[in-house]
Each structure stands twice: as C-alpha cells, then as structure tokens.
C-alpha cells in the first residue's frame, strides 16, 4: 500500500505560496531527494530573496537566509568551511539570473561542490510581478506593460545554456514541473544533482521551469499549459552538461 506522506525533511510549517504555485512541488522534490539519500542531518540549505525567502522555515535541515543573489557565495563559504556537509541553494530567476549573476557564474566556473535549485517562472513574484531576466519576449508584466520589447529590455537569459558553456560546472540540466511526466523527470534530476555533491563531483544546477498563476494572471491550469506552449519552446528541457557522463561515455 502506498501512503502519501510529507517528506521528513520538510517541517510542519504551512507554506505561504499562492494557490497553484509550483514552489510547493519543487520544495517537495528537494526534500524527497534529501530523504532518499539520507542526508538531512548533514544538509545546510541557503534560501534566497524572492518568493522562497522563507524556505528556511520549510526545510527541516539547518538553513541560512542569504542576501538577494548572494546564495552561491554564501554556499561557497559554508561548503569551504564544512566540506563534508551537503550544501544547497534554492533560488529564483531574479535572484540567480539578475542580481546574483556574478555569484552564479563564478560558483559554477569554480565548480564549487554545491547543488543549486534554480526556479525559473519568468517573473518577479514576491514584489508583485515585474519583468524578470527570464521573462519571455512580448511577455506582459508590471514593468513591461506593453510586453517585453527585446529592443529595449534585451532578451531572456538562458541560464542552463549559458552555464554549460563554462568548463567548470559538473552538471547543468533543465526540467519542468507542469505535468506528472515532467515532475518525475525533475525528481530524478534533482536527486542526481545531490548525488553529484555526495560523490564530490562539483557544481550541479537544475533549472526548474515553474509557474506563477498569480502574476501571470491565469488559473493554475492555464499556467501549466502556458509552460508547455510558451516556456518550454523557449527553454528546452534536458541535460545540457554532464561531465562525468561524458567521461564515462
């Protein structure tokens, strides 16, 4: 008999995320990976500034709240201090791909042995729906009210592609959580990103295409479909870099 239960490495705190937001699923996948690998006692998470700012209340392991964009630098400090522990960051698109771009790229190029969960929902959620570095061309947001004009606002940042151009990082992949099949793949990929750290392989980042029904102005259902129709065509899923697989292959 399969009993649906809360992962042990999530606390009992009630999540504050909006109805239909996929952060809850991603929290769960991270917690399941931690449970499966039996690393809760060694895990130290770094929370971002953004919708997941209070992730430190939800994960049951030790947690640090970082300044906006600085999570990879904070995680670097923690990992250098405690190399035997398992250190992960959980960051959104504004945090990781805009204000924290330097920290992201440099942690990757140093191949810091950390796990990065990058939640890309193409919008700033917590501040109320402003244009993100990953907002799609033409996407209407509070700060791109006529749609993102690539002539003035530039193009979206494709983090997985960008980072996989570096020699440093071990593992870069993009997944989505908008249907059962994608969630299953996301679960496997996130677990691999933690396994890589346990095996000392280095920087492993999973970009998770996520939804924001509230700020996209859609029902949760429509938001999941919008991922299929608009996000995934721009942000194709898959493994972009896997150094070990390449060596083994």
């Amino acid at each position: 008999m399969v009993v649906f239960d809360k992962p042990k490495s999530l606390t009992d705190a009630q999540l504050h995320y909006c109805p239909g937001c996929t952060h809850g699923i991603i929290h769960r996948l991270v917690a399941e990976a931690i449970d499966t690998l039996g690393i809760e006692g060694k895990a130290i998470g770094v929370a971002p500034v953004g919708c997941a700012v209070m992730a430190y209340n939800y994960f049951a392991c030790d947690m640090v709240e970082a300044a906006h964009g600085r999570a990879p630098a904070v995680a670097t400090g923690i990992k250098r201090s405690l190399p035997e522990n398992i250190v992960f960051t959980y960051q959104g698109d504004g945090d990781l791909a805009s204000i924290g771009m330097a920290e992201t790229v440099h942690a990757a190029t140093r191949n810091e042995n950390i796990t990065v969960i990058f939640v890309n929902n193409a919008i700033y959620g917590m501040t109320g729906g402003q244009m993100a570095p990953t907002s799609l061309p033409g996407q209407v947001t509070q700060t791109s009210p006529y749609g993102r004009d690539v002539k003035t606002a530039g193009y979206p940042v494709k983090i997985a592609e960008l980072l996989s151009a570096l020699d440093g990082p071990e593992f870069i992949a993009r997944v989505a959580v908008n249907n059962v099949k994608n969630v299953k793949q996301a679960k496997k990929t996130i677990q691999k990103a933690f396994e890589n750290q346990i095996n000392g392989k280095g920087f492993s980042l999973v970009e998770v295409i996520s939804s924001c029904p509230t700020n996209w102005g859609m029902t949760p259902d429509a938001a999941l479909k919008w991922i299929d129709d608009n996000m995934i065509p721009y942000y194709p899923l898959g493994v972009f870099k896997d150094k070990s697989a390449k060596e083994e292959g």
Partner: protein, 354 residues
C-alpha cells in the same frame, strides 16, 4: 631579546589572524591592502585553510557570512571603495548576529578617490555603514604591533559578543614595516556556538541564520536586544592610550597614523613648555567617551587630529559635552599632516581658548 620580526602591517594582520585560528579568508584585490591577500594565498593552502579570491567584494563578504554561520573564524580585507561594496553583507552579518573580522586599510575618497592613506571611513565604520541599526566593534591600530594584536582581539571580541569586528587601519600602517612580536599560535577558539549551522545530525532542531523578521514587533524586539548587548560592549570594551595627560592643559585626540604624527607634535610642544597631552582611541566603537569626558573637566581645549574633514570630532564633542572648545586639524585625500602642522594647531587652539 624578544622574538621580534620585521613585517609590513598588512602581513602582520594576516599572520596574526592565522595564529588566532582563522582558517578562512576571502578577498578581492585592491590597493593598499594587497599584501594581506598575497600572504593568505601563500599560507592558507599549507595549513589546510581556505584562501579564495572572490569575483567581487560583494561575493567575498557573503562567503564570510557563510563561514561565520558555521561558527568558524573568518575574515575579509579591503580598502575603502571595496568596503563600501561589502556594506550589504556586513549589515546582514550584523543582523544575523554573526562574528567575523573585516579589515579596512583606508585610502582617500569619495568615489575611486586615491590610493594614499586616509581616515575618512570613520563615519562608515563607527555609525553602522550599511542599512539598519547596528554597530561593529571598530579597532584602530597605530603600529604594526597593534595590527597584529588588535587582529587577535578583534576575533576574540567578535566571538564574545557575537557581532562583527572591523580593523580600521590606513595605507601607512598597512605598508610600513616595524618590528613586531607575534603571539604564539592559539588553539582554535573553543567558544561554544550552539547557534551555528553545522548539520542537525538529526540530534537537534534545525538552526537558522537569518536577519528577516517580517513581524515588526519581533524585529523591534531583536533590535532592542542587540542594543542591550551594545550597551554592555560600550561599558566594557572601550580602549585608549593616554600620553602625557597627567598635567595636560590641552588634549590632542587622534588615532592610527594621525596619532603617531600627533605624538611627535606633543613631544615638540612639551619641549617648548606647552602642557599638552594625547588621548589615542584604540577602539573607535565603542568610543572612549569616559576618557574624553574626564579630560574635559581638566583641560582648556581639545584638538581632533584626523585624516578626514572632521568625523571623529563629532564623537569628541558628544563626549566632552560642550565644556571646552574642540578644534580640528586635518589633511585629506591621501595627504598627511606634519608634526609642525599639528603643533601649529595646538598653538592656535591655545590662542583661541582663553
């Protein structure tokens, strides 16, 4: 003879930090503190420590935040423009009640300024620097020996009070060589840090390093608690050197390199029969208010000698409470006053203070 070695101030900080049990250093190149990073780059790999040249000052201070959260001794160093970049991280470290040591080998500003010595980051260091209500313990070395001694003290006080400490030096003290006696290597501090994130090992509730309190009453409480702690620090940790103050009728107040120059001026003035002494703050926060207040009841005037257009002078005025005149002798932008200029200002003060 004691075991004296000749070292640059910047190198003395690095060696003293290592001997105080610091095994994690994060920095970014900037003149005039680069010798410190270079020393760490050489030594840390040989003692199983971390030297990391970060991608920016911002990243460096956040790496410091990460290590400080794990309860280990950690430091960064920079010079004025780089310290401005670190302010965000310093505010988070203060707001999360974490100990660490930040070294500022000051140069002239504002903006890119210059690379010659300055003390113009006094306000930034002693009045907070970043956003929010907070303090750093600020130590002001005036010799290479103090570069070493106050580095160790900075780590100890930071751990004791669970707050960041700053060594506020300047380009002169950083670049000069003097004989220095280094303390024996300490056992890495055994200060109990039950708050640190080290992994729960499933044996305790999870620890959270955090400065976010969305409920205003909770955030207010946190701030008040921190200010109770600051009062204790002010009560117990103010340090200063008193020089020829016993019978002084005038009091020069100066720290760091300005105090070295002022000492020459005081000696010269004494030769001319002028009864003047020097109070040299060693801690800038807490400021030695009591020493200044006590002197205010004896002397006819104060002279603040500083490499800024008058920053510490405000603290002197607050401490002496309008009892006697307080005048300023300053050079800025990397210029340093000569002993003669200080002597001239002392005489001017005497003329004005009847």
């Amino acid at each position: 003879m004691e075991n004296k070695v000749l070292m640059k101030g910047n190198e003395a900080i690095a060696e003293a930090a290592i001997r105080a049990g610091c095994r994690h250093y994060f920095g970014y190149p900037i003149t005039p503190q680069t010798e410190l990073a270079a020393y760490m780059a050489k030594r840390m790999p040989k003692i199983n420590g971390t030297f990391l040249q970060a991608e920016s000052e911002i990243a460096a201070i956040n790496m410091v935040y990460g290590v400080a959260g794990t309860g280990k001794r950690v430091m960064t160093s920079s010079s004025s423009p780089g310290i401005s970049l670190k302010q965000e991280g310093i505010s988070y470290i203060a707001g999360s009640d974490l100990p660490c040591l930040i070294v500022n080998v000051q140069r002239g500003g504002p903006g890119l300024g210059g690379i010659q010595p300055s003390q113009s980051d006094y306000f930034q260091a002693t009045k907070g620097g970043g956003h929010g209500d907070y303090h750093l313990i600020v130590l002001a070395p005036s010799s290479v020996q103090e570069m070493a001694d106050l580095t160790a003290l900075g780590f100890d006080l930071a751990d004791k009070y669970r707050m960041p400490a700053m060594l506020l030096a300047d380009g002169t003290i950083g670049q000069m060589m003097e004989p220095v006696v280094l303390a024996e290597e300490k056992e890495i501090s055994k200060v109990n840090k039950p708050w640190a994130v080290t992994g729960t090992e499933m044996k305790r509730e999870h620890n959270i390093i955090n400065s976010l309190y969305l409920a205003p009453d909770e955030l207010e409480q946190k701030n008040f608690e921190r200010y109770e702690k600051y009062k204790v620090v002010e009560e117990n940790e103010a340090r200063y050197e008193s020089f020829m103050m016993e019978d002084a009728e005038y009091c020069v107040v100066a720290f760091g390199i300005a105090a070295r120059v002022s000492k020459n001026a005081v000696v010269a003035a004494r030769k001319q029969g002028i009864k003047v002494g020097l109070i040299r703050p060693i801690t800038l926060w807490p400021f030695p208010k009591k020493a200044i207040a006590d002197a205010a009841s004896k002397v006819k005037g104060f002279l603040s000698v500083e490499l800024s257009t008058g920053q510490m002078i405000e603290d002197i005025k607050l401490a002496e409470n309008c009892k006697v005149p307080v005048e300023l002798c300053c050079r800025v932008g990397g210029m340093i006053m000569s002993p003669d200029e200080v002597l001239g200002s002392i005489k001017k003060l005497m003329g004005g203070a009847k």
